[in-house]
């Protein structure tokens, strides 16, 4: 069998999909006081008090708030820290 004289030119292209972002979501609960939640947010998320209050109000009024978005490992760490404050924190993939 004759060998092909021309080598086929094969191009490969790798496309790197960006890692999905994760949301840390806090759900409302009937047990923790609003002031306690503000202290928890400031302590865990290292955000200014005004922002902590805004997020607390969102949790209280809408039942949930996304308090942080970013890479998975950091999201897991923050969600765990919020749970250590006995807040209902969950992780969701950012849509």
């Amino acid at each position: 069998m004759a060998k092909p004289k021309i080598k086929p030119e094969i191009k490969t292209e790798s496309v790197v999909a960006p890692a999905p972002k994760w949301n840390v979501v806090v759900l409302n609960d009937p047990i923790n006081f609003t002031g306690y939640v503000v202290v928890a947010f400031v302590s865990v998320l290292r955000i200014p008090k005004a922002e902590a209050k805004r997020l607390m109000r969102q949790v209280h009024e809408e039942g949930r708030a996304t308090v942080w978005t970013g890479e998975r490992e950091r999201a897991e760490l923050l969600a765990l820290e919020l749970q250590q404050w006995h807040l209902s924190a969950i992780l969701e993939v950012d849509a």
Partner: protein, 154 residues
């Protein structure tokens, strides 16, 4: 930060200390059960569970020591620094969570959110007693939050 103080009547201290003895052994279980541990990664889930369990046990110990050491009339709990105060805040939240899950899980969220206005005359004695303690722990928690940050509440 100057030390923070929580005061209560000696009667309240006795009642709350007795309740803590009863509920502390179950608090760790409640804390882990309530947590939303991510299930996709077994290693992460195990780490979360262990972390929350260890913390719950530490919180139970912290509360037991603090109430047992509260002296005088009124009985006073002294928290020497911010780290101690924040740990105590979390511990108070944990015990309220445990009471909610173990003693009055049947009270709807909306009613519990306004526990002070709850008509507790219709509740069984055990629940009424636990609800009074739940409110007391909440008052201590609010007092501590206000000392840490007077503007934390709206």
């Amino acid at each position: 930060m100057p030390e923070l103080r929580l005061s209560m009547t000696t009667e309240a201290r006795t009642v709350l200390t007795d309740l803590l003895r009863l509920i502390a052994p179950a608090a760790a279980r409640v804390s882990v059960n309530r947590a939303r541990v991510p299930e996709a990664d077994g290693e992460v889930a195990a780490f979360w569970t262990e972390t929350l369990k260890a913390q719950a046990e530490e919180e139970a110990r912290l509360l037991a020591v603090a109430f047992a050491s509260a002296k005088g009339d009124p009985a006073i709990i002294v928290l020497r620094n911010e780290a101690q105060a924040l740990a105590f805040l979390r511990a108070l939240s944990a015990v309220r969570m445990a009471l909610r899950d173990l003693v009055f899980a049947d009270i709807p969220d909306a009613e519990l959110e306004a526990a002070a206005e709850l008509d507790d005359e219709t509740l069984p004695t055990e629940q009424r007693h636990a609800l009074a303690c739940y409110t007391c722990f909440g008052l201590l928690q609010q007092s501590l939050v206000l000392q840490l940050d007077p503007e934390a509440f709206d």
